[in-house]
Structure formats: structure tokens, C-alpha cells
Symmetry: C2
Subunit: 412 residues, 2 copies
């Protein structure tokens, strides 16, 4: 692990100085190589899926693990999109003269070495490596043991891409061991790793946050809410509430609690309950919800702070938006929360007062994603406020140093 770290640190200096064209060549070459290696990728992935089933992985985990043709397409498209994005490194913002006569600006610089620790999803390997490379950072990737065959197959494609472009292979390193101790070492060597991005279950991320000696960009869980206001357009509300819950169950931006204004609960909840029923979503309701939907399981206090990652939805009737905002800020995870309303003033207040990394009006929480936001892909979603908040793309992997141009200026 120390050796990997040293190699990454050395490669980082090289990658930090690499011209955009060289980095793009590596990304585009990797895209072609992935496209030509579909059979190999699917085969490696089947091996992981078979082992996963045998080892009793949950459905949500198996869903994350699977490399479908669509997801391979998305990886390839992601690489091309990242290659097409402007290179953040060396870009200079806010260049201006100040009264003393000097000219000041801010130049983007890479963070250095990024350690990625993730579980099931093998497509993270490509997303993370491509964003780190484009932003001039070296990466150490430590995927889950359940995805080891998929990750090795992807890593081969990545390193072939680096080789094609003439970049050091150590710019992207995949930890080959599935030994847990490797993680412990990786998160406690600030001399070689500058930032850790853990992606996966809450247990993994809590453990890493507790033990890490370097900055961690993370979200613990995604307890996302949709609040349907009294002034909502009910057709929009129904579409969003169904999409936010049922588009995919295992993702962090999936709605876990639905809040409904008491003034329209009697009208919209039965309609929604029918759709959820058809889709096999179990509802757990507050007292008022249960009085409207008589067959609903009563929710416990725990339900309000649970990320189900499954076809289960907590439902609460609230008196007004203030109660909704209080509920979201108290029980939510500061990830993504949406209001459905046609009311101008309430929409402005909701945007300002909900303390989450993404706050939405009349849109599905499922949009909270670097790809959807146009970042090319995302390295993770941060629910913290330090350094980055929300989906983290290229800019989140850089910092800005000040540059000052003078002509012999001195301070008086």
C-alpha cells in the first residue's frame, strides 16, 4: 500500500502537468477499448454476479453490481463526455486589477492523489478514474471484493488507455488485494493520499470517516423527501412522487419519505397508493395517512430516518410547508429534497431554507446526479458543506491557488 501510494504521488506530478490533449487521448482510447471489450467485461461481471448470489448479496447490492449493456454504454459515453469537458487545470478565473496596481486571479490546480473506496458498483471504477485523470489527479481505486473480477477487467482497459496516451500507468491504480487492512492503511497515509472518496453503504462510510486522517468527501445516506404542497399541480405531483420512488430503488437519490399537505392528502394519497400498490411498494404511514389509507402499515419513529433502498416508502401528512421543512431538516440526510408546488413564494422559501445538497422545485429527486447535472459524471455526492456540496465533478477535484502579476510592485 505504501508502494502504491509512493507511485501515485510520483505519477500525480506528471499528470498535473499533462496537457489536456494527452489526458483526453487516454480517456478516448479507454472508451474504445471498453467498447471492444464488452464480452470480456460481461463475462467477468457474470462471475461476480454468480459469486454474489451464492454469497447471499441483497437484491439492491446485486442491482448495483450488474454491468448491463446500458451501463457499459453509460461508462463509454461518460468517458467521451469527460474528454469533451473543458480541462479545469490551469484555468484562471477572476483575473482583475486591484487598487495597488497588481493583477490577481485564481488558477485551478489538482488536489493530488485521490483514494476511492467503493462497494458493489464496478462502473464507479471508470467514472472515478476518468474524472480524477481529467482533473490532473492520480487515483488509487479500492473496489469491493464482490466486484473484483469486473474491476480488474475495467482496470485493464484503463491502463491500456493510459499506455496509448503515453501517461504513467500509476496514474490509475487498482488495489488488487481484497484484504480489509488495505483500506485502513489507505485512509491513514496523508503523505501519499490527499482525499478519500468512499462510495457505498453507510457502515463503510461511517467507518472510513471515523478513522481517516485525510479529508473525506462523502454522503452517509440519502433520505430524500418529496413534499407535495396544497398548491401542487396534482398531475406533476403524481408523476414526481412515482418517479422519485420507483425509477430505481437502490440509489441514494431515491425518495424515502413522502410528505403531503393535509389540504390535498385526501385527494392525492388514494391515487398514489393505487400506483404504488401496482408497483409493489409498501407504504408506512403516519396516523393521518393511515386514516386516509386504511390498509397502510403505521410508521414508527425509526421510519422517518431510514434509507430503505427498497420498495418501501414512509408517508406523512403535514399541516403546511413549515412543518415539511422542519421534518426534512431534522430527519433528512441533507442529500436531496423536492417540493411540488405552483406557489411562487413557497418555492423561493423552500429553495432557501431546506439545508440539503440539492433542493428542487417540481422535479424528481432522481435527477440529483453528476451526469444529469452536466458534470460528465460524478466522483460522489457530498452532503457536507466543506469543499464541495452535492454531486462532485471535475471542479470538486481541484483547488484554486492565487496568482499575482506585478511589474515590480511593492507593498507600502
Amino acid at each position: 500500500m505504501q508502494r502504491l501510494g509512493q507511485q501515485a504521488r510520483e505519477a500525480a506530478t506528471n499528470v498535473a502537468r499533462a496537457e489536456s490533449g494527452i489526458k483526453n487521448n487516454a480517456l478516448l482510447a479507454t472508451a474504445e477499448i471498453l467498447d471492444a471489450s464488452r464480452a470480456e467485461l460481461v463475462q467477468a461481471n457474470r462471475q461476480d454476479l454468480g459469486n454474489g448470489k451464492a454469497n447471499g448479496l441483497t437484491d439492491a447490492m446485486l442491482d448495483r453490481l450488474e454491468l448491463t449493456p446500458d451501463r457499459i454504454d453509460t461508462m463509454i459515453e461518460g468517458l467521451r463526455q469527460v474528454a469533451a469537458l473543458p480541462d479545469p487545470v490551469g484555468s484562471i478565473d477572476n483575473m482583475r486589477y486591484v487598487p495597488s496596481g497588481i493583477q490577481i486571479g485564481q488558477m485551478r490546480v489538482p488536489l493530488g492523489v485521490i483514494g476511492i473506496i467503493y462497494e458493489s458498483r464496478p462502473n464507479v471504477t471508470v467514472e472515478a478514474a476518468s474524472l480524477c485523470l481529467k482533473s490532473g489527479n492520480a487515483t488509487i481505486l479500492r473496489g469491493g471484493s464482490e466486484a473484483i473480477h469486473s474491476n480488474r477487467a475495467i482496470a485493464r482497459c484503463l491502463q491500456d488507455g493510459l499506455r496509448t496516451a503515453g501517461l504513467p500507468l500509476e496514474a490509475v491504480q487498482v488495489v488488487e488485494t481484497t484484504d480489509r487492512a488495505a483500506v485502513g492503511e489507505m485512509i491513514t497515509m496523508p503523505e501519499y493520499v490527499d482525499v478519500i472518496v468512499p462510495r457505498g453503504g453507510k457502515g463503510l462510510i461511517e467507518r472510513i470517516s471515523r478513522d481517516a486522517r485525510v479529508t473525506v468527501i462523502k454522503h452517509l445516506d440519502g433520505i430524500c423527501h418529496v413534499y407535495i404542497d396544497e398548491k401542487a399541480d396534482l398531475a406533476k405531483a403524481e408523476a414526481i412522487a412515482v418517479n422519485a420512488k420507483t425509477h430505481r430503488y437502490g440509489t441514494c437519490n431515491t425518495m424515502e419519505t413522502l410528505l403531503v399537505h393535509s389540504g390535498i392528502a385526501g385527494e392525492i394519497l388514494p391515487k398514489l397508493a393505487d400506483v404504488y400498490g401496482e408497483k409493489g411498494v409498501e407504504l408506512r404511514g403516519c396516523e393521518k395517512t393511515c386514516s386516509i389509507l386504511s390498509q397502510t402499515v403505521p410508521a414508527t419513529e425509526e421510519d422517518w430516518s431510514t434509507e430503505y433502498l427498497a420498495p418501501v416508502l414512509a408517508v406523512k401528512v403535514v399541516e403546511d410547508m413549515d412543518e415539511a421543512i422542519r421534518h426534512i431538516n431534522r430527519y433528512g440526510s441533507h442529500h436531496t429534497d423536492a417540493i411540488v408546488t405552483e406557489d411562487y413564494t413557497l418555492s423561493r422559501r423552500f429553495l432557501r431554507e431546506v439545508d440539503s445538497s440539492s433542493v428542487m422545485v417540481n422535479a424528481s429527486t432522481r435527477f440529483a446526479d453528476g451526469f444529469e447535472y452536466g458534470l460528465g459524471a460524478e466522483i460522489g455526492i457530498s452532503t457536507d458543506k466543506i469543499h464541495a456540496r452535492g454531486p462532485v465533478g471535475l471542479e470538486g477535484l481541484t483547488s484554486q491557488k492565487y496568482i499575482v502579476l506585478g511589474d515590480g510592485h511593492i507593498r507600502t
Copy 2:
């Protein structure tokens, strides 16, 4: 301390929602109150200076402690400048439509509660409080025991200003005790404090960084360099080398090591040595320097990584810019480094390759300062790459959340 923390957390919600006009009223009222309280401030400061001398504080510490009329002017001017700056909170950047039809932007939000831990300089109290207030954060200020009378006098002005504007007095709290344990508590209560900004000696900052349970925005020391290139304009070089060292000795952006290209060392070093000699600056030179300036004390390895904060300067002759950059990146503290050159290509390479929070061409390192950079003032200078790098002003005290506006959009 827990009580202070709780009060700050509650006040933070209030301040986060306060309109710009209200926050500006508090800042401008404080400026007026400070201006009317000069006699009281100077008297309190004299008490601290007297105690400091009796307790054997160094000249550098006494210099930092002193509240001269000029520094009071600067505090007042700083408050007015911060009031005049645009309010970062709620400002929305990069609002754009993406292909799915949703509109995405980023809204600035306060970080929450900022803890400031500082030593001698009482003017930090005003700088820090004003920036935190304007950026919608609550502050807990813990100054050094040597400045307690000055800080209390300043705190009274600040709280009078908050009262005038109708803001909660708990938005700016000064820790009244000089008990050291208070610091330990303050940096380990993430439930009440979001960020710690330590300002002061390296020992203080190292201790805080090691023990803190929340993010620390910091620089450990300022080992700043000026590199005089072979292609330098010698008049500019002399002005900058003298200003960077002798304008003030006790500040973090003061030059501590001078690097000189071997091709011009014989010409410029004797001239510089004369000026430094007149100003009482002791030189410690590498072997080549000593051969040019025969009466120079030889530098030891330790000198290259020492922040003197005193009229002492290490001097090294280098073969070319590459050696200078290697020296800076190895021995420097990633704070502020400058090149003096008329060479276009070298200036571009220096800006890109020096890994410091401020990199300058033909300007004195003394400019590295939030006030000089037009940030209004600075909460600190960060030599880290996470969250903020260089002088940290209003933006560094905020984060950006994503906002998404749709019209019933769902993800397909």
C-alpha cells in the same frame, strides 16, 4: 463551552436567513462604535502591552498585539469594506438548462458556526467576526490571554453593533475565559462548530490540527521565497527583495529565503547586502553566497525551513529556475512565493509549477493578504488544497448547494 456552542448553533439559523441590509447595519454600526471608542480601545490595549512586556513576549508578538491608530483605522475600513461587498449568501451561479429540461444552479449557503482561535493580534476579532457575519455564519472567538483586555473592548463594540441591527448577540461570541481547556472543547464539538480557523504560532496550529474533530482552515507557517532570475530587472528585484523582507518582520507573508540565479548573484547580492545591512537584517548564506558576501553567516540545513519572523534572511544561489522551484516546493510551506523575471516563458512555468497558495511574478510576497486581494479582509490563509487555498474571505466561509427547477420533470 457547550452552552456557547448551543447558542451559536441557534443564532446561526437566524443569521443565515438575515437579509443583507440587516447584516450591513450591524457592520456599519460597529464601525461607528469602534471609531467612537478609540480611547477605550487604546487604553485596553496598553494594559495588554504592559502585561506582555512584563511577561517577556517577543518583539514579534508585541508587534502583533499592538493596536496602533492605523490598525484601528484598518479595522474600521475593513468593516465598511465588508459591508460594501456583495452578500454571498443566496447568490446563485451557473443557472442553466440541461438536456433533460430541468434548470440547474448553485446557491451559496453559510457553513454554520465558525470557531476562530487566535493569539496576539486583537484586530483579528473584528476581521473574523465581520466576515463570518456577512457570510451568514455565527462565530465563536477565542483570542489569546495576552490580548484579553483588547478583545473584550472590541467584543463590546461588536455586540453593540449587533444589538443596533436587531440581530442576536450570540451571533458573535467571545470566549471570556483564558482557560486552555476551552480550546480543547471547542475543537471537538462537531455538533456545534463546523469549521475551526486557528491563527497564530505554529505550535498552536499544529496542536489544533492534530486534535480537532472538525475541518481546520489553516496555514502552519509562511516560509515564503523570492527567486531573482537571471533575466530579472535588477531595480524591480531590489525593490521586491527589500520590501518582501523588511516591510514587516512578524507576518506570515514575509520572505524568509531569497533565491538568486548564479548568473546575477555577483552583481545584485552586494547591493542587497548593503540595504539589508542598513536595516539590520542578518543574512545566512549558502556556500556560494558566502563566497560573494564574505561576512555572511553560513546557513545550515535548518535555515531553509525556518520561519524567522525576525530580521534574519536565508540566501541561496541557484543554477536556474528549475532548482529554485525544486527548493521552493521542498522547503517552502506552500504559502507565497515570487519570481522576479522579464522572461515570458519562465514566468508562465513558475506560475504553473510552484505548488503554493499564492504564486507571484514581479510583486512582493507581502501582497498575499485578503485585504490587498480585495476580499475585504481575510479569515485566514489556507495552504491546504481542500475547500480554500490562499487568503480566505467571504466565499471561503460559504458552500454551494445545487438548486433544481423543473415543471413536473421526471427522470426516464
